[in-house]
């Protein structure tokens, strides 16, 4: 399923978008989708960590090494 949304861009951002699209040979939609996907992944990762890091800390797990020890 595909969705279309309209987003207002200021001149500077629109210019940057046009530049990147031209430079990489992609469409503006493609550049926007890609940028959005990356940004949302980061936002979701931060959100997930906000909930999960405290749970791990309660179990005394703080670092990657603690996780590796716990899981092996």
């Amino acid at each position: 399923m595909s969705n279309t949304i309209t987003v207002r861009l200021d001149d500077k951002l629109a210019k940057k978008l046009a530049h990147v699209a031209k430079h990489t040979g992609r469409t503006r939609s493609d550049v926007i989708r890609d940028a959005l996907r990356r940004q949302l992944s980061i936002a979701i990762l931060d959100e997930v960590r906000e909930e999960l890091v405290p749970l791990a800390e309660k179990k005394g797990i703080y670092t990657d090494e603690d996780v590796f020890r716990e899981l092996s």
Binding site: L45, R49, E51, V53, L55, K59, F68, L71, S72
Partner: protein, 267 residues
Amino acid sequence: MKVFLDTNVLISAVISRGLCRDLLRTAQEEHDVVVSQLVVDEFERVLRDKFGATQPALGKALMLLDDIEVTMNPTVVLDAGAPETNDTLILTAAIDARADVLVTGDHGMLAQANVLPIDVVSPRGFMERLRVPDDSYPSLREENGGPRVSEDRTGPAREFSFDFSLSIIKLYMELQAAREYVLSKQLLRSGTSIGANLEEAAAASSRRDFLHKMTIASKEARETVYWLRLLNESHLVTDLDVQQQLDQANKLVRLLTANSKLQTLNS
């Protein structure tokens, strides 16, 4: 580079402080990340059972894996000489997925890295490797720096589809001349879009994008066969011979099916 992430790396990325968080981001942005179904299941199970993650939190955590390629668990498990069954399963899955590297925090696996049949590195080892200048891995990046499918995997169908489009256009003109305006338009659309989608697949920005375009090409090829058969057997236009185009369309379907089987084997 195709990077297989072990469960412990994914778990660390979402619950602890260290390299794994950045590693997940970097790997997703610059490389093709792959995991197996076993990793996804384990990721979910550990977060829920060991750390008490709530259902909404789990849902969000799984959303992080949306853009990652997930392979089926291998049916044949290699005897990789690894001591634990789970390690063996992960190793086999990584090899099966044709990963260039397996990133794990498992000390047992890392200790044996030199005898394992695949490159196994720690998260730290992986991040250090990324600091090597890009030109040491010329095949990894296109000039624009984006991660992408490294070579053209569309196979022989791409070249063939161009000639096929030409013959469909010719047929379309004959049909128009014979005043067949309905089926001819359908045929023109589906017949010429096979090649267009293969071109898009060849320039795909990710593996997922590539597979998606290949699937569309395959569907269009089947649709084309359908319209041609209909034209052939309905006798809408008398004295019309579309057998040649029908043979070519069937050949395209075969080529694309073979290619999709190849991609499945390679994933």
